[in-house]
């Protein structure tokens, strides 16, 4: 008997290289469960990842089209894919450093132009792959390998930024909320525009050790549960009460014109009306010559 989601995975690649108890695996499972529950054709899903633990996990281990690309640049790559073939479900897998630091500009612009991609951000509050350096989401005061005297910088709220930039769906959950996380990812797939789902995930090896004083993944999950505050409750709390808290829930769920679709409409008005624009721009598989 097999795990119900193993059909999406390259079984002989497992167990993964990620640390025992790393929450990234849980987030990935929620993603695959969302795809499964929505009955999406996995051959029409493309995973585009940057660099980090999330990327190491999200490409290769999944038996589907995936692109393991450049640190911070998954979003523009995904944009190119979606514009050329808007029939594909393009999923960006990113991390808090990948989209909150080096990829910040691309993150904001992808949200602003509302390109129809589903982004899952594996936020573990640290740079895990490189051994535990401070990230834009690491709390002020934390001792990390890059801040041995204590982090002097305040954090960035990625969901807030996504909202301000214009994303049509923004949600945050932790790995201690797998049902809700799965549900949000499902909702993200239903949206036409840019969806951003932030998954706060446990890094017991570095974040746990440096910020919380524990290397137990269970301890970290309990910490997530104790310190999560729903969007509704957070509305009634002051700024001070929210320090150190993780606001969870759905922040935005609206519809706005999606970019690839806007292109279809604009382009269709300029080209011969009966041509399927999607087909025109992609090379047909068996053509010896290019369509003119």
């Amino acid at each position: 008997m097999k795990h119900p989601l193993m059909k999406y995975l390259r079984e002989d690649w497992f167990p993964t290289v990620l640390c025992a108890g790393c929450g990234d695996g849980t987030v990935l499972q929620c993603m695959l469960r969302a795809i499964d529950e929505k009955n999406l054709d996995i051959s029409q899903v493309v995973f585009v990842a940057g660099i980090g633990c999330h990327a190491r996990l999200g490409t290769g281990y999944i038996a589907a089209d995936s692109m393991w690309t450049l640190h911070g640049r998954a979003m523009p790559i995904a944009t190119g894919i979606k514009l050329v073939n808007s029939n594909l479900h393009v999923v960006v897998l990113t991390g808090d450093g990948d989209c909150g630091a080096i990829g910040l500009s691309h993150f904001v612009h992808a949200a602003r132009r509302n390109i129809g991609i589903v982004t899952v951000c594996f936020n573990n509050g640290i740079y895990g792959m490189t051994g535990g350096q401070v990230a834009p989401t690491t709390p002020k005061g934390t001792y990390t390998k890059a801040t041995p005297y204590g982090n002097l910088e305040p954090t960035l709220d990625l969901c807030s930024l996504a909202q301000t930039a214009g994303a049509t769906y923004v949600a945050r959950w932790t790995t201690a909320h797998p049902r809700q996380l799965t549900k949000s990812i499902k909702r993200a797939f239903e949206k036409k525009g840019f969806s951003f789902v932030e998954a706060v995930t446990q890094c017991p090896t570095y974040y746990g050790r440096y910020a919380l004083g524990t290397t137990s993944p269970s301890e970290m999950l309990r910490w997530f549960l104790r310190n999560s505050v729903t969007v509704e409750r957070a509305k009634n709390l002051g700024q001070d009460d929210l320090i150190g808290k993780i606001t969870i829930g759905e922040f935005v769920d609206v519809e706005k014109p999606e970019l690839a679709n806007e292109y279809r409409l604009q382009t269709a008005a300029k080209t011969q009306p009966h041509k399927d624009v999607n087909e025109t721009i992609r090379q047909s598989p068996n053509d010896a010559t290019t369509p003119r």
């Binding site: 995975l9 002989d12 497992f14 167990p15 640390c19 025992a20 108890g21 797998p178």
Partner: protein, 80 residues
């Protein structure tokens, strides 16, 4: 490449929960979060020496799927 092993936890009746020893990293999340304390670390260890869980009290299992959902490694799942 070693063959995958499956473990059925109750004999002879089919189990509610299956643990795949080969994939388990012994992180302990499933044991700690089982709401009915049905799971417990067994004497079987992972290559790095962490206990692989077993369904110690199968009568407690309510098939809530929390173990399945929290496991990062596809090593434990509920028989649906």
């Amino acid at each position: 490449m070693e063959p995958m092993t499956e473990t059925c936890e109750t004999i002879p009746v089919q189990s509610n929960v299956i643990v795949i020893d080969r994939l388990c990293k012994g992180c302990g999340i499933c044991v700690d979060f089982c709401p009915t304390k049905a799971l417990k670390g067994s004497n079987k260890l992972t290559p790095l020496g962490s206990p692989i869980p077993t369904l110690e009290r199968p009568e407690n299992c309510v098939k809530c799927e929390i173990c399945e959902m929290l496991c990062p490694d596809y090593a434990i799942f509920v028989v649906k």
